[in-house]
Symmetry: C4
Subunit: 240 residues, 4 copies
Amino acid sequence: MTGLQRALNDLVIANRILAHHGVFDEYGHVSMRHPGDPARFLMARDCAAAFIEPGDILEFALDGAPVNEGNRPLCAERFLHAAIYAARPEVKSVLCAGSEDVLPFSVTPVPLRAMLGTVGDMGTQVPVWDIAEKFGEDTDLAVSSLERARDLAQRLGGHRVVLRRGVGFVTTGRTLNDAVKTSVYIPKNARTLAQSLQFGKITPISQGEVDQRLAIDPESNAMRRGWEYWAREAGCERWL
Amino acid sequence: MTGLQRALNDLVIANRILAHHGVFDEYGHVSMRHPGDPARFLMARDCAAAFIEPGDILEFALDGAPVNEGNRPLCAERFLHAAIYAARPEVKSVLCAGSEDVLPFSVTPVPLRAMLGTVGDMGTQVPVWDIAEKFGEDTDLAVSSLERARDLAQRLGGHRVVLRRGVGFVTTGRTLNDAVKTSVYIPKNARTLAQSLQFGKITPISQGEVDQRLAIDPESNAMRRGWEYWAREAGCERWL
Amino acid sequence: MTGLQRALNDLVIANRILAHHGVFDEYGHVSMRHPGDPARFLMARDCAAAFIEPGDILEFALDGAPVNEGNRPLCAERFLHAAIYAARPEVKSVLCAGSEDVLPFSVTPVPLRAMLGTVGDMGTQVPVWDIAEKFGEDTDLAVSSLERARDLAQRLGGHRVVLRRGVGFVTTGRTLNDAVKTSVYIPKNARTLAQSLQFGKITPISQGEVDQRLAIDPESNAMRRGWEYWAREAGCERWL
Amino acid sequence: MTGLQRALNDLVIANRILAHHGVFDEYGHVSMRHPGDPARFLMARDCAAAFIEPGDILEFALDGAPVNEGNRPLCAERFLHAAIYAARPEVKSVLCAGSEDVLPFSVTPVPLRAMLGTVGDMGTQVPVWDIAEKFGEDTDLAVSSLERARDLAQRLGGHRVVLRRGVGFVTTGRTLNDAVKTSVYIPKNARTLAQSLQFGKITPISQGEVDQRLAIDPESNAMRRGWEYWAREAGCERWL
């Protein structure tokens, strides 16, 4: 299997894992930087994640333009992925999901913090991007232009995750598995943090613990154990 | 396929999507205005939504009377649909569901607000109808007469959604998909709002953002992506 | 089909509906008064509800003694059912379930109230029985004797439902369907009440609304719609 | 079937029951002391619990070293099990799970208490082990050495359960079924306690009630009813 075919299969698996976990429903999109060309990225056409097949994956430039013209509907928010790949050379995967559990941390002053060791790699700071700050209070909230995407990328800065007010969260990954693994745990972490805050003073994951988690190779056996398990759970054996 | 057959199939799909999502359980009813006659509407006989087939759909006049007499049990709350179609010519679909997540906003002074972009079309105001206000504290809570239904329609006014104290919510739609899509997200929105209120000052969807969401054609690709996905998830391919 | 065979099949369906809904898990028991002899009741042997078949149903006297000696393990809490049937001639069904959602109302001073119209028949008062009041703080919490059962029946009095501290709830029914239907909604009602209490002043189901719900025949079409739906959902068509 | 084969099958069933209940996901590990040699214990290779088969079970000494060298990946936290077996001769099973519901009790000053009769055997005290106390604020949180494991075992002391800050909980059992049964209920108990604390003064399971629960033979019919039910639910009949 070529590197590109491996990438297409992995992106299909990623979509279906995220759909299976309810991280994606009819909304949600994930991409990866092209394995052969850092100025390109791969993402599915506009389609619910649970149905995506390798033939649905398209190639984009870092301005969000599709490399091959076609007549398949494009994800309106491809610009979000493009701008992050342009701003962050080390990022190899970008994922955007809605989450009712994460949303409260995007619409109130309470910050999202890592409480579970498994999302220590999320870091100790999770910025929030509110489209209204720059684009006013009458948008459709969508990151449907490069201008909006660059503003979000600026708020993301060098962090791992940024929240979108009223929408959900964006995760970056050093690899596709890295982004997927963290994203599966982000809603659980949000729920456990919400409950902990009701109890009183919290002990979050420390900066040192974050650094240790980030030091683990995202492609090591321990970090890939979830991938194979979740791929099977999602019925994706044929693409493994 | 005729326009009527398309409507019957869509109504079956709608029922089954809503059952699949848990928006409907053994209770819950959805209707659409007859595609060929605005003085009629289509709704299933009294039957759990998960089992409805095209042959279960009946036709009603705007006083709730069935067009064809028959011996199939009728939904006791058909009057609710009738009164809304009579009061609101632009409404093409009406849906009524119980929801444990929405109920707290109908039995306390806290108002339901749109927090998720995906329910921005719910509007900035969601009125509450308490049957006891006009009909006293010893009813069975059911909208089982035109008189009760007209009182509810009055409280709904020009809004998209009205809550029923102790029961759930009523959604109106410009199309069937419009009502279904919003209704799938209403319980999620309620949960995320409840959590946000615990955190402090909230940033809900603004009037401008609501207007932008309402400006999107409910039958556009982006708005219909959920319909096809959810229909497949609910096992409805044969009626698509 | 004889009246007794109908009763056995219904009791199997009830068990499986309650297991399917998560009202029963490995714990949970339901009984009905014998259709031919008010001094007897029917209940399954000690077995997880999801596996019960007609051949598992045993007959008991109102002191909890099995009518036919056998070697199948008996439910240790059959005395609870016996004592209620003895104290309440109009009760035709008794059900006992654990519930994490109901438990907080049994271990704190906050009373369980009906908030959903669908559990209006639960009444405006739900007493709590704490075994420690009479039997001390070192029991195994089980209603495994007639003495304990009679104390619980006394606390139940003429009410529909009683909570057991640290265990769950007991529902009585005028028919089997009546007990099952209410019990399916009790955990949902508990969750929605817990959330409502966080919001402030609540509007529960009034006494008049309770009376109206209780006036509905539990075997009417409207009240039986859930039974058939849930039976199919639980894979019980063959016993319908 | 030999005692060892019975043990291997039971350990497979335990893994799959815990996966089926969501107590384990891609993380989670359970072991049992070797039936023929108290200086050994049995645990699966490093693999998601839902896929474990008898051939995946390995044998370890009480220093965490595998008895048979091989090339299958080992669970990094096998030392946790080893240290507990070494410190507690009466313990026959050890289980470690993540739990979003339990976590708040490990990251705040609020203690986990038994509220449900079914987890009375958890005891009235549940200590919390924070790896940072002894090992500093820059670990990866994993119990991946005997030194860390012994420190955790010391915090566990003679208790049934210990929480791991930022990770989840560790349960000990007098038998494998004992550890599994309690662990299935621990997250439910955590949720119900969290809700009860919002209501006010709580009535937890008393020491006397705990003692009564602990007096019940964990291998009695009543305590094994869940095992067979859950094994079937998890598709494990062939190993029963």
